[in-house]
């Protein structure tokens, strides 16, 4: 039996002890004496969130297939456990072996959202790993960051030894071999980091220095010497049908956010919505083959015993073999009594048919994400969805018995006016009106329910909107109020419910997203003031963040309110994500001209990603 790091007296007094004991079905145990290298994967949020992340499951499976490596997991201890670890001076440990993180060779941290950055500091702190890369020795693991946030690693650069830019499947083997080799030769840690930083896709931040103009903008970004690459190009899997995929995902004992098999059907998205970072970062679209997915689905259902399977991708309706895949899954899952949880699909005859087969119409809802209230603004953001498409989809659905509609919008998009905000309310109203017209009174079994949700737009690196300013907090709140008021003025306002997100955290997220290396100081300051679990609104302390900026002498407005000049050097410009800055600029200009750009299936817009020579870039154009 494994010995647990936490004594029973602690485990029985904290919430959900299962978060800390490991031992889940399909978790991997190895013999310490038979491996060369120990890697700990970390998702810096609570277990139930972290366990639901597909990327970690993929890498966990990949590492553990290698005989010389044992990969384990760690998540942010929840507030109660965090306190006990500090009080009792118990170092943070990995779930499988229950050994201290500090004893590992690597600590890999995935960064999925900016508001988890303070949790990274929590992990380092509890593991007793110095915060700064430059203060670490061979006594400490190599701390390496990955995930979408590392496309602008600068705000967290001092805390990491390395960053892995891009998809993890390609370069880890070479990195680990380099590590083994250099450790054997007795190399020092800094030399290893320097050599690692020369591998494709690997960024070793301590060998680079940012320089600033007097106005605070970046004037240059230099490497310690000529041997370090000045551009780090993202790593990418060119053939997603013959690569690692977990055959036996770990099955948590407690209920997690994703308590199901997740089948990733493709990577990337053909649509270049101009606010969307994922749509640019993961270009080009690469579909997994139908035969691989069929095999994977059954294998994972069998190995986990999950009662549900869901499809994952940025825009599942665009997967070319979706009808065949769903047909197969519906048959196989019916036999195995497994539910299919559908991703949000474009609402049309096909998706309605599928939905009616596998969901209870009364309980399911239609989801539309027009993101903006008028066609004008939808052109600005390049969201192809038109009012006609939404209304026609809704009408078909109402005829089929659906009565619940969810609408997602963003407030604070570039060029937004009052008319666009009113447009949100009017669109919701028209959908309600369409219901009343489509469904005769005597056939209305349920009331129509429309839920409008808005979030505040946050400009992200590597999007055409990376030049855009944000708004002051008061303006965001006014915008939310204006939306609410406009909805209340509609004829069908009784059928429309409105939700909106907090503005405070959006501004901080805005800074962390487009910040430079100086922001690291603010992060550490905020952490020392007790900020962590910032992604959890009940633990988000806005005043402490304001105080941290104040104390570090940095202005939030500098990072959020400025419209950046077209020729400004950005902190993330040294990363090549496949899409060129030239393309993004052109898209920003087209946005201002309210012009839409066709998607990758219709026409290639020469974004730059074709250099990878794979996926959609290699296919003939002119489709739908």
């Amino acid at each position: 039996m494994r010995t647990l790091a936490l004594p029973e007296e602690i485990l029985l007094t904290i919430e959900k002890p299962a978060r800390y004991i490991g031992g889940e079905v399909n978790s991997v145990m190895k013999d310490r004496s038979k491996i060369d290298l120990r890697f700990c994967m970390c998702f810096p949020d609570v277990y139930e969130i972290g366990m639901s992340h597909l990327g970690i499951q993929i890498l966990y499976d990949m590492f553990n297939r290698w005989e010389d490596v044992w990969c384990e997991r760690v998540y942010s201890p929840w507030i109660d456990a965090d306190q006990v670890l500090r009080e009792k001076k118990i170092p943070l440990f990995a779930l499988e072996s229950q050994d201290p993180i500090r004893d590992f060779d690597f600590l890999g941290i995935t960064l999925q959202y900016e508001m988890c950055y303070t949790n990274v500091l929590q992990i380092l702190d509890l593991s007793r790993i110095p915060f700064f890369s430059t203060e670490r020795t061979w006594e400490h693991p190599i701390v390496i960051g990955g995930g979408p946030c590392v496309y602008n690693p600068e705000p967290i650069a001092p805390f990491f030894d390395l960053f892995y830019i891009g998809e993890g499947e390609t370069m880890y083997r070479r990195l680990l071999d380099l590590y083994k080799e250099m450790r054997r030769m007795g190399a020092d840690r800094t030399s290893f980091l320097r050599e690692a930083g020369k591998l494709p896709g690997i960024y070793a931040p301590q060998f680079y220095t940012p320089h600033y103009h007097e106005d605070g903008t970046l004037s240059g970004f230099t490497a310690e010497d000529d041997s370090m690459p000045l551009t780090i190009r993202k790593e990418l899997v060119t053939d997603v049908s013959s690569t690692y995929y977990p055959q036996k995902p770990v099955v948590p004992f407690i209920k997690c956010t994703q308590d199901r098999v997740v089948l990733e059907i493709q990577r990337g998205c053909i649509r270049g919505c101009r606010f969307c970072q994922a749509g640019q970062l993961y270009r080009p679209v690469r579909e997994r083959s139908l035969s691989m997915l069929k095999e994977q689905a059954i294998q994972m259902i069998d190995s986990t015993g999950h009662e549900e399977i869901s499809l994952s991708s940025l825009s599942s309706s665009d997967y070319s073999k979706l009808p065949e895949l769903l047909q197969y899954l519906i048959e196989e899952c019916a036999e195995r009594k497994v539910n299919i949880s559908l991703p949000s699909l474009r609402i049309d005859a096909f998706s309605l048919d599928v939905m009616s087969k596998i969901q209870d119409i009364k309980k399911s809802s239609l989801t539309f994400a027009p993101e903006a209230g008028t066609q004008r603004l939808r052109n600005v953001i390049n969201k192809g969805l038109t009012k006609e498409v939404i209304l026609n989809g809704a009408i078909e659905a109402f005829k089929g018995g659906w009565t619940r509609v969810k609408l997602y919008f963003m407030l604070g998009l570039p060029t937004e006016t009052e008319a666009d905000i009113r447009g949100i309310a009017e669109l919701a109203n028209e959908i309600a009106a369409a219901f009343f017209e489509t469904v005769p009174k005597q056939q209305r079994r349920e009331k129509i329910q429309i839920v409008v949700s808005t979030s505040f737009f946050i400009p992200k690196p590597f999007t055409p909107f990376q030049w855009a300013p944000m708004y002051p907090k008061e303006t965001y709140i006014e915008k939310a109020y204006a939306t609410r008021k406009a909805i209340s003025e509609q004829l069908n306002q009784r059928s429309i419910k409105y939700n909106w997100h907090e503005a405070d955290v959006s501004l901080i997220e805005g800074v962390l997203a487009r910040g430079d290396r100086r922001v690291a100081g603010v992060l550490l300051n905020a952490y020392r003031r007790g900020c962590f679990f910032d992604a959890w609104s009940e633990y988000y302390h806005h005043e402490e963040w304001l105080a941290a900026f104040e104390e570090c002498g940095l202005s939030i407005d500098f990072y959020t309110m400025r419209e950046r000049k077209l020729d400004e050097l950005f902190p993330w410009d040294f990363i090549d994500c496949g899409v060129t800055k030239q393309f993004l600029k052109q898209e920003w200009e087209r946005a201002m001209a309210e012009e839409i750009t066709p998607n990758c299936k219709q026409k290639c817009n020469a974004c730059g990603a074709a250099r990878y020579g794979c996926g959609i870039c290699m296919e003939p154009k002119g489709g739908a």
Binding site: E8, E9, L12, A18, V25, I254, D302
Partner: protein, 230 residues
């Protein structure tokens, strides 16, 4: 065909709560390809019902659930298949076929056996041997139970069927289930109370040895006895 499955829950599994154990077995049935019966409807669920929930922190060698299967070859074969997909700490120890019309596991529960041991590194809070003796001699053992509605008093003597002490461990068989539910902690508190003491939260570790139902003649028998070997 209705089967009664007996399992043990030891080691780290003591930290997994009752609802999670139920979810765990639902997934295990799929992994082991057990031909279990499902309810009808949009989200069919497995026909499975558990005997008596075990609190977090306790280990057990006598846990039970019933399940309806469409087909099963033999108990041995099914047991092997299930044990091949278990997490460390859970072992299926017995599977029996229930006769038509048998009461379900939960309704059958009448009593449970426990061993209460002094936790490693802790001392006996009170002299257990003496306390157990006194319990046996007393005519009544009143226990005041805090409930949502206030307090109720029950006489533990009516629900404690055996109680003994041997080598640092108190062994007992006590009423469990819906009609009178006694917890081993309640008995321990009673023993402490003889000395005017209160038990500490972590003074001992508790292990359930068996869950019992009543035979036709009124005798306590392990729940598995209601079924037959197949």
């Amino acid at each position: 065909m209705k089967l009664r499955v007996k399992f043990s829950k030891n080691g780290c599994m003591k930290f997994i709560g009752h609802l999670d154990v139920m979810r765990y077995f639902q997934k295990a049935m799929r992994r082991a390809h057990v031909d279990i019966a499902y309810s009808t409807g949009f989200s069919p669920h497995q026909i499975m019902s558990f005997a008596s929930p075990l609190s977090i922190g306790l280990t057990s060698d006598g846990e039970y659930f019933d399940m309806e299967v469409n087909a099963a070859e033999s108990a041995e074969e099914l047991k092997t298949r299930l044990n091949a997909v278990m997490a460390e700490g859970i072992v299926v120890t017995d599977i029996r076929r229930l006769p038509e019309g048998a009461k379900n596991a939960m309704a059958s529960v009448a009593a449970a056996g426990y061993i209460v041991r002094v936790r490693e590194g802790f001392e006996q809070g009170v002299p257990f041997a003496e306390a157990v003796e006194r319990f046996q001699k007393e005519a009544h053992a009143y226990y005041v139970k805090q409930t949502k509605k206030g307090e109720t008093t029950l006489d533990l003597k009516e629900g404690v069927h055996t109680l003994s002490f041997d080598q640092n461990a108190v062994t007992m068989m006590i009423d469990t289930g819906s009609s009178r539910n006694i917890k081993p902690e309640m008995v321990m508190e009673c023993l402490y109370s003889y000395y005017g003491k209160q038990r500490g939260d972590f003074d001992f570790v508790i292990h359930r040895t068996e869950t019992y139902g009543r035979a036709d003649n009124g005798a306590f028998v392990p729940l598995s006895e209601a079924g037959e070997v197949f």
